[in-house]
């Protein structure tokens, strides 16, 4: 009889309760798959397929149209790691990611702690500090290009007036790096600020009251209460910011174009110029994979060594 075969009916087949649970789990999984299908399809087309193709392409030489020409094994990788330009790019990328990443979080934490109190007028500053989230990278780049312009920009003229000879920062390797770090911090602060503000405001006031009664100083309260309490947010932001900074592209393209003297030719930008400028798709693919590996490692490293210090509720 049909009913007796139905493993989902525990009354009829009491001896196979385990099988019944299994059946229910299976049905739940099926339903879940259907719900996931739209995103899976989109991810497959726009993320997984390009990733796999990039991995394959990195093992081939290609023609100018980007079609696979000849299997070359790991020689693309050997080539980029013996290319001084790539190694320079690697070093500059790290300098940029670390300064801009930490700078963003430090500035955001500072601003958030300034306005987390319920004081009159703080609403304005909260909106102002968060507003950079709504500005596109391209707009910000052009804005800062003007600000740093040696003959019409406010910052450019200021530098000239305080006696900086090289006030055309974009033309200077270090100066160009500084501009990109500044723009990147400015762009990233809004998001980090909002997250940290939320975290700060969820720290109960009573913790500080206990600390006040026990005579801890402001500085000690910050390190003993605030930082541990917002550590999950700090950790989240560290991971997100570091990944984000590695992927910086728009600002480089619009402000420095990777120059001067390749000083700001970070890996993500070099992948683009090698692929679509030099039409060397095999090389670009292997560089992209190296970048992926670096980001993956950086993230793993943060989870491995930073997360231990993070307190989760």
């Amino acid at each position: 009889m049909e009913l007796h075969k139905n493993p989902d009916n525990p009354l009829l087949v009491p001896s196979t309760a385990a099988a019944s649970t299994k059946g229910r789990t299976l049905r739940k999984t099926n339903a879940a798959l259907w719900f996931l299908l739209p995103s899976l399809v989109i991810l497959a087309i726009f993320t997984f397929y390009p990733m796999i193709m990039t991995a394959i392409e990195s093992l081939f030489s290609t023609n100018v149209r980007g079609e696979l020409a000849q299997f070359v094994g790991f020689s693309n990788y050997a080539e980029i790691f013996s290319d001084p330009l790539f190694l320079k790019s690697l070093v500059n990328t790290f300098i940029f990611v670390i300064t801009a990443g930490l700078g963003t979080i430090a500035l955001a934490l500072f601003l958030a702690s300034m306005v987390s109190d319920k004081l009159r007028g703080n609403g304005f500053f909260r909106t102002a500090f968060a507003s950079t989230m709504g500005i596109s990278g391209a707009v910000a780049s052009v804005l800062f290009l003007f600000l740093f312009n040696p003959s019409v920009g406010v910052i450019g003229l200021l530098l000239k007036n305080i006696g900086v000879k090289q006030n055309n920062l974009v033309a200077d390797p270090t100066g160009a790096m500084i501009i990109l770090v500044v723009v990147s911090i400015w762009m990233g602060t809004g998001f980090s600020f909002l997250n940290l503000l939320g975290a700060l405001q969820s720290v109960p006031d009573d913790y500080y009251a206990v600390a006040d009664l026990a005579g801890w100083s402001s500085w000690q309260k910050t390190w003993k209460i605030t930082v541990p309490m917002v550590s999950p947010t700090l950790f989240f932001l560290l991971v997100v910011e570091i990944i984000g900074k590695f992927k910086t592209f728009t600002e480089i393209d619009l402000i420095t174009g990777g120059g001067p003297d390749n000083a700001t030719n970070f890996i993500a930008y070099k992948v683009y110029t090698d692929a679509f400028g030099n039409r060397n798709f095999g090389i670009a693919a292997s560089e992209a994979l190296v970048l992926t590996a670096i980001i993956a490692f950086a993230t793993w490293f943060q989870f491995r060594f930073t997360e231990r210090k993070v307190y989760y509720k």
Binding site: Y207, V210, D212, L213, A214, G215, W216, P228, Y311
Partner: protein, 376 residues
């Protein structure tokens, strides 16, 4: 430590939170601040702790004016409603956190932590994190942190509010016991009048930014200074009746009616000036019987809350609802007519001035004496 509050006021912007608060708290006293939410009692506690500044007025500890001293220099400790245990620190570290400004050497510090843990019976949980403890255990850690400081003044802000009813009753006993053993001055804030009555040696009732009355629990219960205290202290709360006293007559006429639809008249226990009053009568002072007798009047039973050893009976007469507490189980169905008798003893009849809501003395004059108790 002896505490004197001298005309303290607190305003947040244009809103007055506390107004003219003056009181004295004796050394070693278990002193309870009680009042409904928003009455300013937590604000007062935080002003005493130095966590927020008063708008005007002074706080004295012994003879020292501490109004402008920072919290750390006031040598007091505080227990919070949410315990304020740092979630990433162990139990022992949380207790140690409170000892910072005492500058103890390592041996003494360890001893303080161990003794405090021992006192609240949590020694074996010393390395746990707060989230691994039950609410009651977290409460004990917060207590241990206060005990370890050996401060002579301990402030507690609704410390039992987050516990379940049974645990709360147990902890009340323990706190009273702890206070007896350690002998510190204890200022205890609560909105729960039962807590105030069962724990406090003296109670300050706060409402509407003002002190309503200061006194022992039985003072407040037996001689409420005004209508607010009368209805706030005691559960079920005191019944209030409109009463009119006519000149020349020694009766109060109530808006209740007897079996013949005549107004119920109560012989006055003392002379009162003619006029309108509020008459307060505690529910347990109203007696109920199944049959009519001299001086009784019929009432309809609206509901009966049986508490096992006693019952609260909601009654209605002539559109006026009131409650009688019966010291027994009361199996009477709703809508049954029973007969109520009001007390005649002077101590059981609380007359309040209709305008000022203050209790009137036996000369019929509003009395402020109860309110003034405790002011230097």
């Amino acid at each position: 430590m002896y505490i004197k509050l001298d005309h303290l006021t607190k305003q947040f912007g244009d809103t007055a939170v506390l107004d003219g608060i003056s009181a004295q708290i004796q050394e070693g006293e278990f002193f309870v601040l009680v009042g409904p939410s928003g009455s300013g009692k937590s604000t007062l506690l935080r002003i005493i702790a130095g966590l927020i500044p008063a708008s005007s007025g002074s706080v004295f500890f012994d003879s020292q004016n501490v109004t402008d001293l920072p919290p750390k220099d006031r040598h007091l400790t505080m227990v919070f409603q949410n315990y304020a245990l740092l979630p990433f620190m162990s139990v022992a570290d949380n207790i140690r956190f409170g000892l910072h400004n005492l500058d103890l050497d390592a041996t003494e510090e360890a001893k303080r932590v161990n003794d405090a843990l021992d006192m609240v019976h949590l020694t074996e949980l010393r390395d746990r994190k707060p989230k691994e403890l039950s609410g009651g255990q977290q409460q004990r850690v917060a207590l241990a942190r206060a005990i370890a400081t050996k401060a002579s003044l301990v402030l507690m802000d609704e410390p039992l509010s987050n516990l379940d009813a049974q645990l709360r009753t147990e902890m009340r006993q323990e706190l009273v016991q702890l206070h007896k053993e350690l002998g510190m001055t204890l200022l205890y804030v609560t909105h729960d009048q039962v807590e105030a009555m069962t724990m406090g040696e003296r109670i300050m009732v706060l409402n509407d930014h003002h002190i309503q009355q200061v006194g022992t629990p039985l003072d407040l219960y037996n001689h409420p200074a005004n209508k607010f205290v009368a209805t706030f202290i005691g559960s079920p709360k005191m019944n209030m009746f409109d009463a009119t006293v006519d000149a020349l007559e020694h009766f109060a006429t109530l808006e209740l009616t007897d079996a013949n639809q005549h107004s119920v008249r109560l012989p006055l226990p003392y002379d009162l000036a003619a006029g309108a009053y509020q008459l307060g009568i505690r529910p347990e002072k109203i007696t109920l019987s199944r049959s009519a007798s001299a001086g009784s009047f019929p009432v309809r039973v609206m509901a009966v809350a049986n508490l096992g050893r006693e019952s609260s009976v909601s009654l209605v007469n002539n559109g006026h609802e009131f409650i009688a507490s019966v010291p027994e189980q009361y199996p009477v169905p709703e809508n049954q007519i029973v007969y109520a008798t009001l007390p005649t003893d002077a101590a059981d009849l609380h007359f309040f001035d209709e305008k000022s809501n203050l209790a009137v003395n036996n000369k019929g004059v509003p009395e402020k004496a109860g309110v003034l108790d405790g002011i230097a």
